[in-house]
């Protein structure tokens, strides 16, 4: 048994050396990874986070190609699941060619996954994660282009107040995102003098009978749901069937045409359905028209919410990598330098706005919208009416 073993060791060593040499030759490739749900309930949005990034790499990878680098997309499916996200993150950081991550869709997935990015100094620009904790940890390489839930929850409460709502029942999905925003909504609603007649969390996805009984009994003028459309839309539909006539109000997790597919006419009934969001439909951004046309031409589909933001996240990463390469004399920069280059960008002009990041990684002004659902047809989701548009700086 000895001989084969003694032969095995040098063979292995040679293999490792060969592999290392192989990697050395390939380091002219730069990868941008995406992490978003590509399968399952939220894949409609998640796939377009990937597609937006793909489009940006195709259109804006030119300067890097001229420098002799090849830019590639490395898409990962986080399934909207924290465990999968972290496992993917470990894979991503172990690939030295990856210099930036665009993602995630869910804050509850981004927060644990970004711990891995942080440990490896890998730069992450998020198109959609609104939980304050995403940037409040003060990590130098974690950024986002969207607003924050502490502001968004308050925007929702102020909107309800402006529509004359006096009582609200607040529900959430018990995730970092949903519970977070529901608490901010509740706090602001009480500050505004509204009565919060109930506050509860639920992971239920089908049978809301039991949850709705106390809500119907409490007769609130508004049901606020902090969480994703796949629960909210079913809840609203069943609430209408039980005779709820008030306003349905939710957050940017509601922003998906699947919500209309699930709830249909129920969204039009009573006092209507509204949601706050950090990402207006691509059509509201004056510079996004070309993006929409190009996106349609390439993917044969209207861009979903957050596709344009993902395009911008990628644009920011590509620009930062380009700057870092220039600063490094044409050689591939360290990961940490990419993060620094992102923060160093001033007034970067993307299709959804002009971005400068503060010391935490928040954009210096965040845009917030309140949107009214105007059609039960999923195909008309992009034409929903924008009720309010606000620009608010992140809290200090």
């Amino acid at each position: 048994m000895r001989k084969p073993l003694s032969l095995f060791a040098p063979t292995l060593a040679t293999l490792v050396l060969l592999l290392a040499a192989g990697c050395d030759k390939e380091n002219k490739t730069i990868k941008i990874a995406t992490q978003s749900p590509l399968s399952g309930a939220m894949s409609v949005i998640g796939s377009d986070i990937k597609s937006g990034t793909q489009l940006a790499i195709d259109q804006l990878g030119g300067p890097l190609t001229k420098m002799g680098y090849k830019v590639e997309l490395a898409p990962f499916d986080d399934q909207g699941n924290p465990d999968t996200g972290v496992a993917n993150a470990k894979n991503i950081v172990s690939d030295p060619a990856v210099l930036g991550v665009v993602g995630h869709y869910n804050s509850g997935v981004q927060i644990p996954s970004s711990e891995e990015y942080h440990a490896a100094n890998l730069c992450n620009v998020s198109p959609a994660n609104t939980n304050p904790k995403v940037t409040e940890r003060g990590y130098a390489e974690i950024n986002r282009v969207c607003g924050r839930d502490d502001v968004q929850g308050a925007v929702g409460a102020q909107f309800a107040k402006s529509k004359g709502i006096k009582t609200a029942y607040v529900l959430h999905d018990k995730t970092a995102y949903g519970q977070g925003i529901a608490e901010y909504f509740k706090k602001e609603a009480e500050t505004q003098g509204m009565k919060v007649v109930g506050f509860a969390g639920t992971e239920e996805k089908a049978n809301f009978d039991a949850i709705l009984s106390p809500i119907i009994a409490a007769k609130p003028e508004c049901i606020y749901f902090g969480g994703m459309f796949d629960q909210a839309a079913v809840l609203y539909k069943q609430a209408r069937q039980k005779g709820f006539k008030g306003m349905c109000l939710s957050d940017d997790g509601f922003d998906s045409p699947d919500a209309a597919k699930i709830a249909g006419d129920a969204l039009m009934q009573g006092a209507g359905t509204y949601f706050s969001t950090v990402s207006g439909p691509a059509s509201v951004y004056p510079d996004a028209a070309k993006f929409v046309t190009d996106f349609k031409a390439k993917f044969n589909n209207n861009p979903q919410p957050f596709a344009a933001q993902s395009y911008d996240c990628t644009a920011i990463l590509l620009k930062a990598i380009e700057n870092a390469i220039t600063a490094n004399g044409g050689k591939l920069p360290a990961r940490a330098d990419v993060g620094k280059a992102v923060r160093a960008l001033q007034n970067f002009k993307g299709v959804t706005g002009t971005y400068t990041f503060n010391a935490k990684g928040d954009p210096t002004t965040g845009k917030y919208f309140v949107i009214q659902v105007t059609s039960p047809d999923p195909a008309s989701w992009a034409t929903n009416k924008i009720d309010q548009t606000l620009s608010i700086a992140p809290p200090k």
């Binding site: 399968s39 309930a41 996805k205 039991a210 009994a217 796949d230 039980k242 699930i262």
Partner: protein
């Protein structure tokens, strides 16, 4: 005709209906009584004061006001659980193992039923259907769901359980868990290849969403949705038919013989494999019908839709005494009722510190209590009735 009437054992039809009526009223009255006692005890408590402040009613009035709706919700979901639980309990009765893939059999029924309704809707026939027609189309969807689920259950038994029949039941159990995951992903795969959708939403048709007024108390109207009535009636008909099949037919006798002793049954000339397949067919199609009814009631399904109802129906089967048909019915009713009550009142009574999200915890806690004191379940001793 005379001959047929003569051969139908009326007792076998009336008895299960009577049982159901007793279980429904029993579970309802018991839960309501407990709730009213609690309401009296909670008068003057913090929860009472909160209610007075926010809604201007005391806790007793509040409880009484929502009681009818809570009971109706409990009965509806109870019947769905019962229909699924029968699948678990029948298989357990015959093979003494838990068919964990039953929750996915349920999901397959839901998907096939909903897909056929979506297809009909695409053809435009649903929108034009009369009230009678819409019931016929729903019936068609039910039959399609039942056929798909029954067929799949038989196939699963043939492929994944029969080769393992001589090995310890634990092995078959693991196989069942594997089948359960495989079926989930097969639904996902088929849906993503055909419709490209994750959710399927049952089309709106007929008058199923309308509400029928049951009675009035003062200015308060107690009403029930047409689809809840449909769910309850369909479940009752299926349960009676099953009871008749198992209790009063020759095949039923054969199934019972197989469940008591496979070897002796084989010696008596009973085709054991065929009877086991039949058990899966019947249990599976009940699960499939429950799936379509579930989709009708809660409107939206996804490939993982079977998990929660499946696990609860399994709990219901254990609660009633697994292997016992009447037990599954009782267990489903009790579990549905407890869940409905816990969900509706927990949040109010604990002033929001335990919300509706803990309803399953309460239901399962009671399950544990029952199992501690009656390890064989509520009706566990009546082995003679086991299928």
């Amino acid at each position: 005709m005379r001959h047929f009437m003569g051969s139908v054992n009326l007792r076998q039809i009336l008895m299960p209906i009577g049982q159901m009526a007793i279980f429904v009223t029993g579970a309802g009255v018991l839960c309501s009584a407990v709730m009213l006692v609690l309401a009296l005890l909670f008068r003057g408590s913090g929860a009472d004061q909160v209610l007075q402040a926010t809604q201007g009613v005391g806790i007793l009035t509040y409880t009484l006001n929502s009681l009818p709706q809570v009971l109706i919700d409990g009965v509806t979901i109870g019947f769905v659980y019962a229909a699924i639980a029968l699948g678990y309990t029948m298989v357990y009765g015959v093979l003494q193992f838990i068919n964990f893939a039953h929750s996915e059999i349920f999901a397959i029924g839901a998907f096939c039923g909903v897909e056929s309704l979506i297809a009909l809707n695409g053809l435009g026939v649903l929108a034009k259907a009369s009230a009678m027609g819409s019931f016929l189309y729903l019936g068609l969807a039910l039959v399609i769901g039942m056929a798909a689920s029954g067929g799949m259950a038989v196939l699963v038994e043939r492929v994944a359980y029969r080769p393992l029949r001589s090995s310890p039941t634990l092995i078959a159990l693991i196989s069942a868990i594997g089948v359960s995951f495989a079926l989930q992903d097969i639904i996902r795969l088929v849906e993503s290849m055909t419709s490209g959708q994750f959710y399927r939403v049952i089309p709106t048709f007929g008058n199923f969403d309308e509400r029928i007024t049951l009675f009035r108390i003062g200015s308060k109207i107690i009403d029930i949705q047409v689809k809840s009535v449909v769910v309850i009636l369909a479940a009752v008909v299926m349960l009676v038919a099953l009871n008749y099949l198992v209790g009063s037919t020759k095949v039923g006798k054969a199934i019972r013989a197989v469940s008591q002793d496979k070897n002796t049954a084989a010696l008596m000339g009973i085709n054991v494999n065929a009877m086991i397949s039949l058990t899966f067919l019947v249990g599976g199609s009940l699960g499939g019908a429950a799936g379509v009814l579930y989709a009708l009631k809660f409107t939206r399904i996804d490939p993982f839709v079977g998990f929660m109802p499946g696990i609860k129906a399994f709990a219901a089967a254990v609660l009633g005494g697994i292997g016992n048909l009447t037990g599954a019915l009782l267990g489903g009713m009790v579990l549905g009722m407890i869940e409905s009550f816990a969900g509706a009142y927990l949040g109010t009574y604990t002033m929001g510190s335990f919300g509706a999200e803990y309803k399953d915890m309460v239901a399962f806690l009671i399950l544990i209590l029952v199992i501690v004191f009656r390890p064989n379940g509520l009706l566990g001793e009546q082995v003679s009735q086991k299928a």
